[in-house]
């Protein structure tokens, strides 16, 4: 089967890189490699192939800022945003790099590729969060700083309840250091399909200039003067690709000099025209082309209209899967029946995602933002409503239960904080003023009690290429992702429904 896939040809402009006959020179993009970034390329993953469309056309990566080490630790943007991982980074890839380089790859740089820079860097255990959960250390100043660097007086205090990495209690890196910072551990987000993240929402006024949550003004994009969406990062702190690039160069790449205008323009130009989505499934066959569901594959994302509401009977977020309800097998042969069954399963999964309502309750910054508690929606008509992308369209963030107890999965590998809010601060709507959290998330940017644990929803494309999932990697695979929702909202999915949902998510 794998050999057959490796022999498959794709479009004239495209290439296939097989991860099953893994060749670091092809699948892993090293900073400074002099390669061609093709207009289209497919990369194998455990479930099939993800396709990367480089809409601006192929170019040589030599001296391109996205592909070049920009700081002292040898990393480039591409280190954590690998084409083979849908422009994100899977834990499978991370482990391979550890094994191949004996932990010497710049990916494992002490600054954030280890649990804490103060740990012995040669041993695996010091990089366990990256190797086991795909997590990068993010050190944020405490108290928070405004965009102009001025201190924001937070509405809460924090105590470190548990510190398995040692970083938050470290005298140099911790909350009591001379320059206090808090270390949280997060997944790199995929740098693809960004036009959907950067455009202000259409058709849902006044969300084109106000936060949905509290109807305060959206921040300004300093480059354009217009309002910004905050969809780029999980805590909404960097508003544009250029701002994010500056932040990443300084903090993740250890660049001592600011990026030049040319470097920033190169990075922004590349990031805003690259699209990623699964394009082939090992069981279901081709996911794009004539007769395929129209929302699949990166070509649909390239052509699609960004920032549109998809939670309606026509769009249903990712479009129709009706053609697979009574699917035709992709080709005659021994695997034809399995392909047929898989496609039918995907179509059922789409229906569950689109239509199966469940009660959504106690989600801070969501149920309390005017919608009501509880509120009854399906996955697609609720939080994952952006056409073709599946994140929440309205600029806002929510505490789904990924970070805060009691909903979050038990994570003894992560630091645990006790947040105590001032008595005059608006409480987190369902947890009050004393909150135990693995990551205060948006509250580390705003300093607001009600924001503790809240984060921006993520896009749902290229999932098969970039496990684990959620901002803290708490779902190792798509089944664990579905199980989390099933438990969190007491949905009661049957085993068959879970399988259908996993199959559906795997082809996005």
């Amino acid at each position: 089967m794998f050999a057959a896939i490796a022999l498959l040809s794709v479009s004239a402009a495209g290439i296939v890189v097989s991860a099953d006959t893994y060749d670091a020179a092809d699948s892993w993009w090293r900073p400074g490699d002099q390669r061609l970034m093709p207009a289209s390329a497919d990369y194998e993953n455990a479930l099939g192939r993800v396709r990367i469309v480089n809409a601006g056309g192929s170019f040589a990566t030599k001296d391109h800022a996205f592909f070049t080490a920009l700081g002292s630790n040898g990393r480039a943007c591409v280190t954590c945003h690998q084409p083979s991982n849908a422009m994100g980074l899977s834990v499978q890839t991370i482990r391979r790099r550890w094994e191949e380089t004996d932990g010497k790859d710049p990916l494992f740089s002490s600054v954030d590729g280890s649990n804490c820079p103060n740990l012995p860097q040669a041993v695996r255990s010091s990089h366990s969060l990256l190797l086991d959960r795909g997590l990068i250390r993010v050190a944020l100043p405490w108290p928070p700083r405004d965009a102009d660097g001025s201190v924001i007086q937070p509405e809460f205090t924090m105590e470190v309840v548990r510190d398995p990495t040692g970083c938050n209690t470290d005298p140099l890196y911790g909350l009591n250091a001379r320059d206090p910072s808090i270390s949280v551990y997060r997944r790199p987000r995929p740098v693809a399909n960004l036009k959907y993240l950067l455009e202000l929402p259409h058709g849902v006024p006044p969300s084109d200039f106000l936060f949905y949550n509290d109807k305060s003004l959206l921040p300004r994009n300093p480059e354009t003067g217009g309002f910004a969406t905050l969809q780029l990062m999980s805590d909404g702190r960097d508003l544009t690709p250029k701002i994010q690039a500056r932040d990443a160069a300084r903090n993740h790449l250890r660049s001592n000099a600011p990026l030049s205008d040319k470097q920033l323009a190169q990075i922004e130009s590349f990031e805003t025209q690259v699209y990623a989505a699964q394009a082939f499934d090992k069981v279901g066959g081709e996911l794009t082309g004539a007769g395929a569901p129209p929302g699949l594959g990166p070509e649909a994302l390239e052509k699609g209209a960004p920032a549109r509401l998809g939670n309606n009977p026509i769009n249903r977020i990712f479009g129709s899967f009706a053609m697979w309800r009574s699917a035709q097998a992709p080709a005659a042969g021994a695997d034809a029946d399995r392909a047929l069954m898989f496609r039918e399963s995907v179509a059922r999964g789409a229906d569950i995602f689109y239509l199966r309502r469940f009660i959504i309750n106690d989600v801070g910054k969501y149920n309390d933002k005017g919608l009501g508690n509880p509120f009854k929606r399906s996955c697609g008509s609720g939080c994952h409503n952006t056409l073709l992308m599946g994140m929440d369209l309205a600029p806002g963030y929510m505490d789904l239960g990924l970070n805060n107890l009691p909903w979050a999965n038990e994570r003894p590998d992560l630091p645990l904080f006790k947040v105590t809010c001032n008595s005059n601060a608006a409480p987190q709507s369902y947890l009050g003023r004393v909150i135990y959290t693995y990551d205060p998330a948006r509250a580390l940017i705003t300093g607001k009690c009600a924001d503790v644990g809240a984060s921006m929803t993520q896009q749902s494309r290229g999932l098969a290429a970039r496990a684990p999932y959620f901002m803290n990697g708490s779902a190792a695979n798509l089944r664990e992702l579905v199980d989390f929702y099933d438990r969190r909202f007491n949905i009661g999915y049957s085993e068959a429904e879970k399988i259908d949902l996993v199959n559906f998510l795997s082809v996005l």
Partner: protein, 278 residues
């Protein structure tokens, strides 16, 4: 008269007393736990609250804030003539979510078939042009599934710019208790007002924030926090500024004294008044 008949008659009388609705126009003002009621597998929940033996439907204008379990609601309004909603009496007024948590408010009634919800959607919301566009796309997408990823919700046509003669305009925004979150439709009106201010080259803009006391039906009072009038006024001014209104034009003030309540329409006093002199 048998003993059983007597008991039954007494029970019926008690039930009748419970069920006798207050007449239209009756003012009510009370704090209570909201109760959520499931309205069917394909529709959302509705909410009601019980007070003095009656069930009152909790309905607000769009995006003004739906009740929340784990929180009490302040219900204020007048009984409205017309059919029940959510199996409860409809009032003309507002239901405000109280910010502090009350864990005892946590009842969801399962769907029993008696109250069925109505699903919303693109075919019955938005402008007539948007609804027609969605209907047409739905028809075409049924024949050609590739169209199912074309956006079904068209951008509304831009509102025409205000034209002379420009006259004095006012906008009053009503808020939930202790809240400075304006409802979406009010914020759209605020944006239109900002456009008017700019196009009319207005001479002055007054933004005045208020806070209020609500007198409850049991005689007790509930007063908003001291800071809220200022918060409301400053937030409106900030939005106007963000929409391009020259900050020097706007005179922003607030009344720290809470407007007294009389138990009838006190919700109208939780407000910001914006007036524009062209």
């Amino acid at each position: 008269m048998s003993r059983d008949f007597l008991v039954a008659a007494l029970l019926l009388a008690a039930a009748t007393a419970w069920a006798a609705d207050p007449p239209p126009g009756t003012a009510v003002s009370f704090l209570a736990c909201p109760v959520a009621r499931d309205t069917g597998p394909d529709t959302d929940l509705c909410f009601f609250a019980e007070h003095d033996g009656h069930r009152y439907a909790l309905v607000n204008p769009p995006d003004w804030g739906v009740p929340q379990l784990k929180h009490r609601v302040l219900v204020e309004g007048r009984v409205k003539e017309g059919p029940a909603y959510c199996g409860a009496i409809v009032i003309e007024g507002r239901a405000s979510v109280i910010a502090e948590i009350d864990a005892s408010c946590n009842v969801v009634l399962p769907f029993d078939g008696a109250i069925k919800g109505v699903a919303g959607g693109v075919f019955n919301s938005g402008t007539p042009e948007q609804r027609a566009f969605a209907q047409d796309l739905a028809r075409r997408a049924a024949a050609d599934p590739r169209l199912s990823v074309e956006p079904a919700i068209a951008d509304p046509a831009p509102a025409p710019l205000p034209a002379p003669p420009f006259e004095r305009r006012t906008l009053v925004i009503i808020y939930p208790f202790d809240s400075d979150r304006g409802a979406g439709p009010d914020m759209v009106k605020l944006k239109e007002l900002a456009t008017f201010i700019k196009v009319a080259n207005a001479r002055g803009v007054q933004v005045v924030g208020f806070r209020a006391t609500s007198r409850l039906s049991d005689g007790s009072e509930l007063t908003e926090r001291q800071q809220i009038a200022e918060d409301r006024a400053k937030k409106v001014a900030s939005i106007l500024g963000g929409l391009g209104v020259n900050a020097r034009l706007a005179h922003v003030s607030w009344d720290t004294h809470a407007i007294d309540g009389n138990g009838d329409g006190d919700w109208r006093n939780r407000k910001v008044e914006i007036s524009v002199e062209p």
